[in-house]
């Protein structure tokens, strides 16, 4: 198909021809085209279907405000629904499909909705589909959901990369039209650090769409020259294809740069889009204005477009929507379009101007005081019916109608911090109000300055004001300076189905019905009719609807209300906000010092926070994880096992007040802890709940090393800094995390000492006498490597934790394995660790769940009343010390074949099973290969006094009821002989 709607001129590269496909038909276009201009060039007017009535839809605009010309761009896992054809930059091999139509765009089955539109009036669904109740999910809703929606997702993962970036500048200029360019030139020449961003792939804004000249050159040439000068300035950064999407607090702007949307395929490693966070001292909004339509009967047919869009297509893209064009306007701007199209040889059927005093023109007919009252053409405009002042009607045969109802300043970003625009009677439009985001000023058409000369001046002034410039300013170029001449005109009287929101099919009638039913505030209007909720966010429809609401209410527009806009300025792919934080990179991955060794051993890993920890180490012969875990437990308790516990938080606490400080943050006392000793510590939140537990080892009078649980390492450090800086600012104590500095391994089991004696350097005596339970100290290993040794035990066995600098952790683990061969040493993972701590009755994450007190945990006596410690006072509240509060207990099945389920609830052995009779719940459960039974820990009302009681463990969720016995939580070695051995 040839581009038979091409005109002369334009800013396209005619020397290159590219191919693209729309609905599986091939067409040609030129670089510099958008998909929209290329379709028009090829005489394609029908592009999609509307949301509700599935009415035929063509292009309305030439910019990002487009409500109608939306398509599915690209194919396969790169398919992009709802993409505005007006902003798709043409490239060779571009592929697009029409959407929201079936079986085909020309014949859309759901077009039938249009026939019943009268029954599908605004909000009709709130009044029906209620009987029978069950039918909603089964019948009504599925039908509605299938009919609704617009484009479709591929349902495949987005394959592209996205980046996030951060830029800082003195002045961010948003929009590179006349005012933006002039502002950038002014600030740039003055040496200011400027970022100039525009959503278009070509700077210039309206200058690229107009036929007039700036100084002695064409407007677009002047723009190109300005851009050339700006790009030569090192202090000015130009960001094309970059939409500033939002104005956030304190001068931070969000911007989306489309670095890869204009190419067929991305080079490896290059992002499709970049989300920029731009930190600004000042920002200048030069976003221009958007032309608004006039509502009249059947004003939604393909071919009916904004007059300024027709002008853009003709002047910038050298395209006309049709060879026969009519104009409907209430202002002089509409006449400009007629003149430009006429100059390019397009036949102007007539300019229909609602003003009796409209300017005449001798090249074509001007129908003064006339209105368009109806149109014809099922899939595209064919005839326009015009009512003349004398009451007669004229029918114009044309393929395109340019509509101009005046211009609305693009105030969107001024509203992003809830600022409200104010009404301007001369423009009959909202202009930026006074409560703008701090640091933002507005220039050019966005500020209601509608002439080119005015925009240039206003841009310069804006830059001068924002940057507080003085001295010589650049000379302003000469440009058109016409005053706005228009007669506010929103819709044609007596029309029924005159579209306001063309995508969501909201008509004048719907607005009137909304008022009639009491939905009279603007927000009610929007929510009831869905006006302005479509992908264009009502950029072309909100104000007209408001004007009509005002008329019905008999109020002025400002009395009726304003409508504000929310970010983003135009829709942004969710991937762009995610950047690279997805898939495996969603969160950083933290590896333990023995990770690579464990991988070689074929360990199975588990995520613990951001850490990867070895869960168990299967042998080739083992087919089920339980075999591995049982073996690791048995062998550790029988001989010796090694576990990487580096992930436990380690905090270095130093200072003359270190001990006093720990006395405050721990419920139990530390002042009297001897040097060379370690003590278990329970940390409470100020509300009295257990926050974390760990050990504190005193390496010197003024030096402790504190451990935290893996999960709470960060929050405990933060808490300790709070206590240090905010509560006791004069305590001499210094904190720093050493979690990653040391590779720390638990060496547990009766042979642990023997194993360690093989690597600990001989000058260090670690016999039970010299290095008893809870001892700690600095030592060296393997011939002089500095190390720390702690005699602490989570497993309940004779055990140590040994720490060396992380870089040697891998080597130390390998050494422990070889030296341990004679004892049959096993590495054990988090599962075995968990089993052994349950066997020993140690509380862990499942028990320290943020709602349990020391009393609940069986550690009530640890909370010292003799000193001031965080949480001790509030832990005494009446409900927390009632006689039957939950107490931690051990639970085992009466018959050892039965299984304990964590998350199960405890019920009395007889009586009803329901919430009212709940006695407690199971927090942790495991199979103990030592007891050959499933065991568990849990919380039970008055549990301390119910040892030996038989109860029912119920888990209706997993369909389970087990008879259990309440026992002490210390299943193994309750006296602790082993760990003191």
């Amino acid at each position: 198909m040839t581009q038979n709607n091409r005109l002369s001129g334009g800013q396209i590269d005619r020397n290159t021809t590219v191919n693209f496909r729309f609905d599986n038909r091939s067409y040609t276009a030129h670089p510099g085209d958008t998909l929209a201009s290329a379709l028009l060039a090829n005489d394609v007017r029908l592009i999609g279907r509307s949301f509700k009535y599935h009415r035929p839809r063509g292009l309305l605009t030439a910019g990002s405000e487009e409500p109608n010309g939306i398509v599915e761009l690209r194919a396969g896992n790169r398919q992009e629904p709802n993409t505005r054809a007006t902003t798709i930059e043409m490239f060779d091999g571009l592929e697009a499909q029409s959407q929201n139509c079936w079986p085909s765009l020309k014949f859309d089955a759901l077009g039938v909705n249009d026939l019943f539109s009268n029954f599908l009036s605004a909000g009709f669904y709130y009044k029906t589909f209620m009987w029978p109740a069950a039918f909603w999910e089964k019948v009504y809703e599925p039908i509605i959901r299938r009919a609704a929606g617009l484009g479709s997702l591929s349902m495949e993962a987005d394959p592209d990369e996205y980046d996030k970036g951060f830029r800082h500048c003195d002045l961010l200029i948003i929009g590179a039209g006349p005012s933006g360019l002039m502002a950038a030139l002014t600030a740039g020449r003055a040496g200011a650090d400027v970022i100039l961003a525009d959503e278009d792939f070509r700077f210039g804004g309206r200058l690229n769409s107009e036929s007039f000249s700036v100084d002695d050159q064409s407007a677009s040439d002047w723009a190109a020259q300005a851009v050339a000068e700006l790009s030569s300035m090192p202090n000015v950064r130009l960001m094309t294809r970059t939409t500033v999407i939002g104005a956030f607090d304190h001068g931070i702007y969000g911007a989306v740069e489309r670095t890869g949307d204009h190419v067929a395929t991305l080079p490896a490693g290059k992002p499709r889009q970049i989300l920029w966070r731009i930190y600004t001292k000042k920002a200048l909004l030069c976003a221009g204005a958007t032309e608004r339509p006039i509502a009249f009967e059947n004003n939604d047919r393909p071919g009916i477009m904004m007059a300024s869009a027709l002008r853009t297509y003709a002047n910038r893209f050298a395209v006309t929507a049709s060879q026969r064009v009519a104009i409907f306007t209430n202002n002089d701007d509409g006449h400009r379009t007629a003149a430009d199209l006429h100059a390019k040889g397009v036949h102007i059927c007539a300019v229909v101007d609602v003003r009796e005093d409209a300017p005449v023109n001798y090249d074509y007919e001007v129908l003064r005081g006339a209105q368009v009252v109806n149109t014809k053409g099922r899939l595209g405009l064919t005839f326009v019916e015009v009512a003349l002042p004398d009451g007669s009607t004229r029918t114009l045969e044309c393929g395109a109608l340019g509509v101009s109802g005046g211009w609305n300043p693009n105030v969107h970003l001024t509203c992003h911090q809830r600022g409200r625009p104010v009404w301007n009677d001369d423009l009959a439009a909202f202009v930026p109000g006074s409560n703008l985001p701090v640091g933002l000023t507005v220039a050019g058409a966005a500020n209601g300055v509608m002439s080119t000369q005015g925009a240039l001046q206003s841009g310069m002034d804006g830059a001068v004001e924002a940057m507080e410039l003085s001295g010589k300013l650049p000379d302003l170029p000469e440009a058109e300076d016409a005053a706005v001449s228009q007669k506010p005109f929103w819709y044609v009287e007596g029309c029924k189905r005159a579209w306001l929101d063309q995508q969501n099919d909201v008509t004048v009638k719907d607005v009137k019905l909304s008022y009639q039913e009491g939905f009279r505030s603007v927000e009610h209007l929007k929510r009831y009719t869905t006006l302005g909720m479509a992908t264009d966010q009502g950029k072309t429809s909100n104000i007209s609807a408001l004007a009509i609401m005002a008329e019905v209410a008999g109020k002025s527009i400002p009395e009726t209300g304003t409508t504000i806009f929310r970010p983003p300025y135009t829709p942004v792919p969710i991937s762009t906000f995610a950047g690279r934080m997805k898939g495996q990179e969603f969160h950083p991955t933290r590896l333990t010092p023995s990770h690579y060794w464990a991988k070689e051993r074929g360990a199975v890993f588990v995520e613990v926070g951001n850490w990867l920890r070895a869960q168990w180490f299967p042998l080739p012969s083992e087919t089920h994880w339980r075999e591995s875990v049982d073996r690791e437990v048995r062998q550790t308790r029988a001989s010796v096992g090694v576990c990487d516990c580096t992930t436990l938080g380690k905090i270095d606490v130093q200072g003359t007040d270190a001990a006093a400080f720990l006395n405050r943050v721990y419920a139990n006392g530390f002042a009297k802890l001897a040097v060379g000793k370690t003590r278990y510590g329970l940390m409470l939140r100020e509300d009295g709940m257990a926050m974390d537990d760990g050990t504190a080892a005193r390496l010197a009078e003024d030096h402790f090393v504190v451990t935290t649980t893996t999960a709470n390492a960060v929050s405990v450090y933060r808490h300790m800094e709070f206590v240090r800086q905010c509560l006791f600012p004069d305590m001499d104590v210094q904190l720093i995390s050493t979690t990653e500095s040391w590779a720390q391994y638990a060496v547990a089991g009766p042979n642990s000492r023997k194993l360690l004696q093989k690597i600990v350097d001989p000058e260090f005596d670690i016999s039970n006498e010299a290095f008893p339970f809870m001892g700690c100290g600095n030592i060296t290993v393997c011939g002089g490597l500095r190390a720390r040794l702690f005699r602490i035990s989570f497993s309940g066995e004779l055990a140590f934790e040994i720490a060396v600098p992380s870089r040697y952790g891998d080597a130390l683990m390998r050494r422990l394995m070889t030296e341990g061969e004679e004892f049959g040493v096993v590495p054990y993972g988090t599962e075995a660790l968990g089993v052994m701590r349950i066997e020993k009755g140690h509380a862990a994450g499942n028990e320290l769940n943020g709602t349990t007190t020391a009393l609940n945990l069986g550690m009530g006596k640890m909370v010292s009343k003799k000193k001031d410690s965080i949480g001790s006072i509030l832990s005494e509240r009446e409900a927390l010390v009632e006689p039957d509060v939950l107490r931690m207990v051990g639970i085992k099945p009466v018959s050892s074949e039965e299984k304990i389920t964590a998350g199960g609830h405890l019920m009395n052995s007889t009586g009803p099973v329901d919430a009212a009779h709940d006695q407690g719940y199971v927090t942790s459960a495991a199979y103990s290969p030592i007891l050959n039974s499933s065991i568990g820990l849990g919380f039970l009302k008055d549990g301390a006094n119910r040892m030996g009681e038989k109860m029912r463990l119920v888990s209706p969720l997993t369909d389970l009821t087990v008879e259990v016995e309440i026992v002490s939580a210390h299943f193994v070695d309750p006296e602790g002989d082993r760990l003191r051995a």
């Binding site: 956030f248 100020e686 709070f722 800086q725 905010c726």
Partner: protein
Amino acid sequence: MIINHPLLGPRDASEFTYLGDASLINRPDWQADNAAEAFYEYGYVRDNPAGKHQELWFHEAGDRSWLVVTRDTTTHEISKVELARDVARARGRSK
């Protein structure tokens, strides 16, 4: 948001962790007769003003300073940023 760190200058608020009302500095005396009531008020009751609010932020991804930020909860305008340690001392806290 941007917090103008008294030592480091303007920093993105995303580097900080928020705790809440700076009254959390005023931890009651554990030995006072009304300690129970005082700690309840301290722990649970807030002014929650619509306007100027003194609040605690921790520079987690920064220099680990706790800051007292005076910020308007209706506009987010920040009028003052101080090191919490200085504020605590000024409020008479010591050891």
